[in-house]
Amino acid sequence: MAILSLAFKSLLNRKLTFFITLFSIAISVTLLLGVQTLKTETKTSFMKSISGTDLIIGSRGASSQLLLSSVFHIGSSTNTIKYETYQDIEKLPAVEWAVPISMGDSHKGYTVIATNLSFFDHFSYANKQNLTVQSGSIDDDMFAVAIGADVAQKLDYHVGDRIIVTHGGGEIEGHDHDNIPFFVSAILSPSFTAIDQTLIISLEAMEAMHTETHDHLGALPGETLLDSDHHEHHDEHDEDHEQHAAHDKHDEHHDEHDEDHEQHTAHDKHDEHHDEHDEDHAQHAAHDKHDEHDEDHEQHAAHDKHDEHHDEHDESHEQHAAHEHEDTQDQRIARLLKLKPENINAIFVGLTSRHAVLGMQSYVNNFQGEPLTAIIPAVALQELWQFFSLAESALNIVTTFVVLVGLLGMLSIILMSLNERRREMAVLRSVGARPSHIFGLIIGEAGFVCLTGILLGVILLYAVLLILQTPLANYYGFYLDINMLTSNDLFILLTIQCSALLIALIPGALIYKYSLSDGMNIKF
């Protein structure tokens, strides 16, 4: 007891070196634990990216690539599968649900994914949590877009805002689909997954944009009556038509473009539908709003390969009429066409039974229609995480050395104090201290410095975590969960404490030897 208070007073007498040692240990402990925390948090948030999806299906290729592109929206989206494959998969008895995913568009650097409404019902992350909406609501309108929390925050978007989507990945080289503005229908709550940085649109809208880009849709003659904004688009289109006419398959119609834009009728696919035009007219005519379209019906009808969708037009138009925004003519056409894409990038699949996973996976891998890959998200995530294991161990090694340097600093400071303290040791010996007391004094000092260093380090860690939590979530979409120290952390701290005591054996043994050999001599 007396020795402990002596050790403490002796330490306080050397405040400066004590605090320097204390802080070097504290900082190294903070760093080590911080890295551990970051590592586990990164891994957890990584593993939480998707859940409840039993399989992800994409074109034949590396599973990590499919995972990266479909879940993290990283990498190319050039590998596609047929939409029909999706339809086939969906029909399989083992499949409870299947959600098609198409990518490749962006908005101001944020990924745009196209899917259908069932995405919101089935996509889940973390512990099977579905995406939730923080404002607005998921709208089944074709041009509704649900935006991730980060997108809304960074770009300051609100429900009802109109936005333009870019084809292709980048902000720079992409082509604006400015004829098809979307309106923000919902802002999703933060999920701290890639969805936060994503805009979600309908497959039909994405297909419409792409068709528009390639100028399969054109302006309608009657549209010149619309407001000036539409005028501009219209004018641009006239030019476009001329340009596109050159490589348009339907050269024979070229001459007619400027007069009546009859190029639509040229769609080869829809030629067979020509005969049905007359019937369709009747339905379209029913729309008050679209009276002016009457003359255009020929074109509309000609476009539409999905006759069955005609019946749905009534509903969708009525819904759309409720929106404050006027449709552009491209949108109007797209609504009538309701084209499904030919290709998509991935399918998220939920199975009726978890036991079916492996069988289903091998079925997909040997799919007849086209070469496919099916990955089990949890397994693929785990595999992908292995990529980071090298970086992880490198980080571990570095932080271990940081702690070691902290401890060596302590050792050198104790060793330096030793010569001066040989005198104190002789005095202590003279009043009856045993060599073991002297030894304990050194070990106790090292132990105390290290322990307070660790405690300070832990306090510092939580302070840093608390300070970083909000900015990390706000600016990096990384949710740092502040937890109690794990048993692994405690083990690390215990190891540090033991290492400190072990290292202190060196000066301890030295002073023990001195205290025996110096006798009652005070050496100077």
Partner: protein, 231 residues
Amino acid sequence: MINLTDLSFAWNKQPIIDIKELTIKKGEHLFIEGPSGSGKSTLLSLLAGVITPQSGDISILEQPLNLLTASQKDTFRANHIGFIFQQFNLLPYLNVLDNITLPCSFSGIRKHKALSQSKNLESEAIRLLNALGLDDPELLQRSVNELSVGQQQRVAAARAMLGSPEIIIADEPTSALDSDNRESFIKVLFDECQKADITLIFVSHDTSLKTHFKHSLKLQEINQATIKEAV
């Protein structure tokens, strides 16, 4: 009460001490002189039981030291011997009071004896300091670094005397003092040892101090090792 017989000790096979017979009586004030390097400090270390002789016996207060384990020797020393060094007697991180009461941390007997003198350790420390000529009570809480060397030696003497050990061993306690301080220091040390019936073993190479002592011996005269070396 202190008996040495056939005592020999060597540092790294180099014989330093070789004493046939030495007896120091209770209450005796013994001055041991000897040139530098003659082994005075080594002899004191042997008496204190800090180092163990290669051969021969030391018995102190009828207790043969060679029958004690190392830690028993440490306890024995704490209980019965007070030390005063030439310099740096005090722990710099303790104040004057804590330095004086330091032996009580290691010896219950001395603490008990000190408390039988005064109502608490602090007043016993003040009593000893007053006796040694340091009568400023404010001194107790001072850092020892703020004391003059003379004051430090008196504080060291107070510590050596606290709890009335039977023996005080002083290893050149006055060599850092000027002659005036030296005289008064020796005087108060003598008086106090007299009062408490403490056996004082005082070592120095300064022969001028010998006059204050009734008993004195030259180490080189009784120490065969030094004679051999000299020859």
